[in-house]
Amino acid sequence: MFEITGLQSGYGGVTILKDVALSADREVYAVLGANGAGKSTLLKTLAGIIRPTAGEIRFNGERIDRLPAHKIAALGIGYVPQENCVFPDLTVAENLSIGGILGKRSKADRLAELYDLFPDLQERLDQKAGSLSGGEGQMVAIGRALMQEPSVLLLDEPTAGLSPRYTDLLFRRVAEISREKQVTVVLAEQNVTSTLGIARKVHVLSLGKTHLQGATDEVSIEQVRQGYHI
């Protein structure tokens, strides 16, 4: 269970997120909104990359908003940033192994599942991650987080740069992972229709504030889109 109350956060004294509250539990929780709405700031704050200036973040009842990012990751909270974020001088296999340090099951099993999701990565294992295409780098970043076997997965625009085939596959797999492994997925996306198709709850941010939140089956796409035009 992931619970956030009264969250305020930003950069260099500038407040971006204002009084954001949410609760997500073993479900896909969609975070939508226009550029600059605060989606990435929210995910960075949850991952401990930036520290909130007010409010609380609780994970399974424990406060985690004062913990450094590596301790938050060790709790099983995986984060895939928006920017293509791989270790460029390490090979694909090494990048994935780093994610694997935190998981419990055998690495081989986890890698096999990953190759089901991204078969192309298997052909690139010995290649330096910095020499991959943008989309392939994105696959490695997502793969590294999945190797961690997280109980919470924070995904910031994971489909940016992926081909239609992989975009479709990734949405399906994210839904599967959440459903079958009881993983809480907080998913920030630009692809509104596909995101609403797999999310149980939706949270629309506008200029750092909550414009709308609720169950996806009780919210219309028009209501969501209104949050983009404020």
Binding site: I16, N35, G36, Q127, S131, S133, L162, D168, L169
Partner: protein
Amino acid sequence: MTVEAKLSIAGLEKSFVGRKVVSVDRLEIGRHGIEGLIGPNGAGKTTLMGLITRKLKADAGTLIYRPGGTEIDLRQMSMDQVARAGLVKTNQVIQDFETLSIRDSLRLALAPAEREQFWTVFTKRRKRDAVEAEIDEILSHFPFENPNGDARSAGEKKLLDIIRCLLLKPKVLLMDEPTAGLPDDLTRAVMTLVQKKVAEEDLKVFIIEHDLDLIWDYCAHVNFLADGRLLCSGTPQEVKDHPVVVEKYMGVVDV
């Protein structure tokens, strides 16, 4: 009458650590207003653009650019010379002048190129005033939260990159996944502006994109690249229906 291509590519090859990433026998760009380049992740699309802009050096092949009346062998040119000749590329991965505000970043794109004195657009009021109207006009199309402040979100930075390239008044604009990270309404606003420039300024556009609706809606001609090779080209409908494109790129895979 056949329109002469702005860019002719022949026998172009590039390998990285023994792996052939680009192997394009023949490709003509600039016969149509907006042309698309689609293909799976790792097909070599960005590498192909890197070879055209001379960010990367080709192992073999020719790259002939015709900005108007003249014929230029791009292999003899440096990256900045290519850009000065009007062949400009937007970036897939965000590139930003972190210390410049949105407005200053746009001023820089409009800075006078003569004698390399670009800073005069900041220091000389007359030169600064000369570009303000154009900046205001372009900003009226796009809802930056604070044009006098920094570009904050990844989407704003991406948008700024595209606008900067348009302000350079290119003859050929290469766009590498311009819409990744942008919401639908901004994507359409960008493409509407690009269409206007194509119609009014004879701009030619070559665009890499995974948003296939955008490709089908805006491109007059589409090329499909896979494993570094150009496997088919044609109208959007021809490419959409091509069995190789369907097999290698589109549709849902059963897993």
